[in-house]
Amino acid sequence: MSDEDIRIGVFICHCGTNIGGVLDISELTEYTKTLPNVVYSAANLYTCSEVGLSEIRENIKEYNLNRVIVASCSPRTHEPLFRSTCQEAGLNPYLFEMVNIRDQDSWVHMKEPEKGTEKAKDLIRMGVYKAALLESLEKMQVSVTPSAIVIGGGIAGMNATLNLANQNFKVSLIERDSELGGLIRHLNKVYPTNEDASNILETRNLVESHKKIDVYKSAVIEKIEGYVGNFKVIILQNKKTIEIEAGAIIVATGAKALSPEGYYNYNGKTIISQLELEGLLKENTINTKNITMIQCVGCRNEERKYCSNICCMTALKNAILIKERNPNTNVNIIFRDIQTQGVAYEGYYRRAREMGILFIKYLPEKPPIIKKDRIEVYNEFMNQVIGFPYDLVVLSMPLVANEDSEQLAKMLKVPLEENHFFLEAHVKLRPVDFATDGVYVCGSAHWPADISEAISQSNAAASRASTIISKKMLEVEGSTAEVSTDLCVGCEACIKICPYSAISKDEETDTVVVNKVVCKGCGVCGASCPQNAITIHHFTSDQIIAEIVTYGGGD
């Protein structure tokens, strides 16, 4: 396409006052009109609103635009929307370019609007120069294996499996242990109904008898290959290697309770963990007069800043059960903040108080001290140290991430957060998705979750997975890396650095090849290639250099 044919339309967004309140939009609009190849330039209050989008569509037709630029917010959230708008108007979506004048300009230069406006001109100009060099790209279509793999056979994993199977998908459930059920197997009763944990475990039978479900117990994951729509998981079970294929993977590996060893003179007899108390309650062998539970042991501190979410309710449950069994038992809960959000849980807390359970708030800097004959704790509410006798101390330990999470995360190419729980794509709007397509997370693998939350999330993860495996074909990113076999010397630098394992060696030609389905177009390989043999489509050297030059950075 020669220069004369290029017709760029630029849409500049006010984003309410997010941008419009800082930058001079009309000046930008006028300025943009002076740039080469720009045939249309206008402002919108919100370009992403239906009005804004229809303006894009209409003007593509009216002005015969073949490049569209939106100068607004972040492509992270809005590029897909604008691209598909272009596509609807018959324009290849890769002929769209986004310029971020909000996050990178109006937000950070709120106090210096004139300079901000000048910067926006630079940014838009760079976009215009890049846009002129954009090329149409085609999104690849890949077929989808209409089945799912669920990793982890606790309540979350079982429930996700069951849901997908009930939706008529084939599901493989992989469990490391010799039986399904996860942590719930060790529980006595479950809140807030205080029914037997075994009721919840009935899901096991449904899972194991379902004709659409294959359960792999005592199975270890060896390797995970493939990509959205076409995963291949290799497991080792009874010394046998089994290969399972699926279109999507759900991670439901759960978490484990932190070991109480080393906290508050834990001895496993008079000072035990909440999980051990569950066992005693199950066996009905509690017969003590004075029981004290200590909350937030080993968490909400420097080492583990987080609140483990489930411990308050667990302590309340066991305290209530003990009181129900013998109202004369003195049960104390030493706490920091009682976490009983919502309707049922807050009601449960009130019920616990009603039963005469004593609640004592403590400060992290003045934790309780367990002496021989009594516990002493500084009571913030009384501004004084108080003591009480004990026969049994129960430590509420937080849930912590499984040690092998990291290994699994690597195999799946998904990230962990600082506490080693799996990190979702977006905490607000994609809470069970990973940034990597086709992989989902639920239950305590994501964050300490109780039964109700884990089930809720597992349904959600199943739903998200179903949006992939219900499709016959999937479209994948068109902006990917391409290797010039002429230039490649087969040094493998790119293979080592690719975060998505998208590159492999073609032994025949001794050059590398990119798997376009797996490639996310991140560009790391291109930057690392000593031969300049890799082109990242949509971010070609020409395009980027054009931006730099027009900014004034080149010669």
Partner: protein, 431 residues
């Protein structure tokens, strides 16, 4: 099951209803999305930012609104309400009452000419009545569908048989006073209820002075006051004298954890008050905030750290204690009487602006809808959910998500919504 019944009705077009619809649509299931208002978006559209990422709320919501509008598997019914239900799981017949918009959806391009000329001024519900809108209006600028609606109750033509200015100024001839309310029947396999929540009116808590003291506002009002698209254009001033407030107080648990009002915990307030304090600080670094709380509830992912950040970097002081009484000095500054638990002393502090974290309560008409659908409600009028399958209502084939079953934040509503979609898919896709 016939293809026609691979169809799910979603009632409520807030973030929960939207997410449920999108998941189902992507799953290949047809969705009938029923929204009572003129636009979808719900409460999330009213928020300025969202915790714990402090993302601009409408910015992350808008793409979803547009997606919902354009998705070939989703049929959007705005200004619509469910009137009757018959049939059984897998084959429900739902009667829908659809109010006339008096604007032709295909013609209106949201140019705003009509709004400019409309002579009526009506309390803007979207902006918490903090400003006026016209009798022809769009809920909010980014609203979807982005077309006008005539508010029959306030339109001069309908009330006094006069005016019709909008009709005259509309170049697209999109105004249609002859439109009639409609009734229709939809056949669906399953139903998801996602009607969201209302806000507790703190006027009844006399000692806090809301309604009497101009500088005591609710948290949702504060979201609008500080929002760039709100009535102040994002420049925060206080209602009494338009001065910039420097000292803010947030009161948590207003009307919640209170057995005389709402015994339950409203779930999100500890977090959103922190968020609002952070946004205020970002607007003006001189702002200092006190947050009064009973228990700081921050159990979600990254929430504890968020509170910590508020304390360290945003001049937020967390004060353990519930405030019983607000007074006012002669400059209309709210005076808060509280107990400083560290010293056991009762103190009085002067603030420029007090924000009440009012409880999320069930929608006014939740009880009525429950009756129509034949599903149970709990003691407070939230839809009753199964304890261990929280998206299941008391009736087979009908599912719940979001704050209509219990107060919850956006991530949980989104999870709930996807979860409800999975459960509905179980009904309509089972073999």
């Amino acid at each position: 099951m016939g293809e026609n019944l691979k169809r799910v009705m979603v009632i409520g077009g807030g973030i929960a209803g939207i997410q449920a619809s999108l998941d189902l649509a992507e799953r290949g299931i047809k969705v009938e999305l029923i929204e009572k208002n003129a636009c979808i978006g719900g409460r999330m559209a009213q928020l300025d930012k969202t915790f714990p990422t402090n993302d601009c709320s409408i910015c992350i919501l808008a793409p979803k609104l547009a997606e919902c509008f354009r998705h070939p598997n989703i049929t959007l019914h705005t200004l619509s309400e469910v009137k009757n239900l018959s049939g059984q799981p897998g084959n429900f017949n739902v009667k829908i009452f659809k109010k006339a918009r008096y604007v032709k959806a295909d013609e209106c391009i949201n140019c705003g000419q009509c709004i400019e000329k409309c002579p009526m001024r009506v309390d803007d519900e979207f902006d918490m009545k903090l400003r006026k809108r016209r009798a022809i209006y769009i809920d909010y600028v980014q609203g979807v569908p982005s077309i006008m609606t005539i508010d029959k109750k306030n339109c001069l033509f309908f009330t006094k048989n006069a005016c019709r200015i909008c009709e005259k100024v509309c170049e697209r001839e999109a105004i249609d006073f002859d439109q009639k309310d409609e009734e229709m029947e939809l056949n669906v396999g399953s139903i998801i209820v996602a009607i969201g929540y209302d806000i507790f009116d703190p006027k009844s808590l006399e000692s806090l002075g809301y309604g009497r003291y101009p500088n005591v506002v609710t948290a949702l009002e504060f979201e609008r006051l500080i929002c760039a698209s709100g009535p102040l254009g994002g420049h925060l001033t206080r209602p009494s004298d338009k001065n910039e407030p420097k000292k803010l107080a947030f009161l948590n648990c207003v009307g919640s954890r209170d057995i005389k009002n709402n015994p339950y915990c409203s779930s999100c307030c500890c977090m959103y008050t922190t968020k609002e304090a952070m946004i205020a600080y970002e607007h003006d670094n001189e702002i200092e905030t006190s947050v009064f709380y009973i228990d700081l509830r921050a159990a979600g992912k990254g929430f504890r750290e968020y509170i910590q950040r508020g304390e360290n970097d945003y001049s937020i002081t967390y004060i353990k204690g519930k405030v019983a009484k607000i007074l006012e000095d002669n400059q209309r500054n709210p005076l808060i009487i509280y107990e400083d638990i560290n010293t056991s002393q009762v103190k009085q502090l002067k603030f420029d602006l007090v924000i009440l974290a009012t409880t999320m309560i069930p929608k006014k008409d939740a009880g009525e809808l429950a009756k129509i659908l034949g599903i149970k409600i709990d003691d407070f009028n939230f839809f009753k959910a199964n304890s261990y399958q929280p998206q299941k209502s008391s009736k087979e084939g009908i599912f719940l998500c979001g704050a209509c079953r219990e107060p919850m934040d956006i991530p949980n509503s989104v999870i709930d919504a996807s979860g409800a979609a999975a459960k509905a898919a179980e009904i309509v896709m089972r073999g």
